[in-house]
Symmetry: C2
Subunit: 149 residues, 2 copies
């Protein structure tokens, strides 16, 4: 699997979420060897749960599958910059690296807004790479919201 | 039910969590009439899920029980100042009011750290009351961590 292949899967999850009427965001968790531990799309509407972001679902599934609460060797691939909730969860799960697609100036909590991982009180700070397949991830979101206006 | 009764239940949940080996934090969600919608204690260890904070579990349970993702009439009672993850979730669930017990200078995300609800990009900001039965909530946490040193 090439370095960026998990982002293609995350984009698939995002597309599937959009087709279900969810905001099209998808996430994948891989281990140090690049194996997929979990994948998920947004399920906020289906679960009546505003915390059911793709990242949260994928992180919980990856840790549950392993029976261990920390994902210290893991990379989280997500099509949109994580919000403050997900950014803090990423730190709590001790994820090694986060690779995200589109930047989110309005709702993001990593490069924008509360910038949760930059707070001095944030214990575990992952490596962060933004902008991978950014235009595709952003186009999905743009089309979704334009269709709803 | 008196105004502060839900905090007594939240403290019960915190004590029960501590007895299970979890960090002793408890939460209760009430509706506008003061009825209990959900109650929960920390389940991080039991679920292998660092996002399984008492607040997250109680909010998810309250919304799931109603089959609606927003809790616009609800009050969240929690024994400890919410962390950045829970603060953002509280905003996403559109909780009307948050009443917390102990302040958390190290891990809190409301009055401390990333101060998530104070970010200009935070759309929904609940009313926040801190320090209710603070000394009891703090004593539970202190005893728990002292016993583990």
């Amino acid at each position: 699997m090439t370095e960026a292949a998990p982002m293609a899967l995350a984009l698939e999850e995002a597309r599937a979420a959009g087709a279900r009427g969810e905001v099209p965001v998808g996430a994948v968790v891989t281990d140090a060897a690049g194996r997929i531990l979990a994948r998920a799309g947004n399920e906020v509407e289906a679960r009546h749960d505003p915390s059911a972001h793709a990242e949260m679902l994928a992180l919980r599934a990856a840790a549950a599958a392993r029976g261990a609460k920390w994902l210290a060797d893991a990379t989280l691939w997500v099509t949109l910059e994580p919000c403050p909730m997900c950014a803090q969860a990423i730190s709590f799960f001790r994820v090694r690296r986060v690779v995200f697609g589109a930047y989110d100036p309005k709702g993001g909590g990593v490069e924008h807004g509360a910038r949760v991982l930059a707070a001095p009180s944030c214990h575990h700070v992952p490596e962060v790479v933004g902008g991978m397949r950014e235009s595709e991830a952003a186009a999905l979101l743009r089309a979704f919201f334009q269709a709803r206006r």
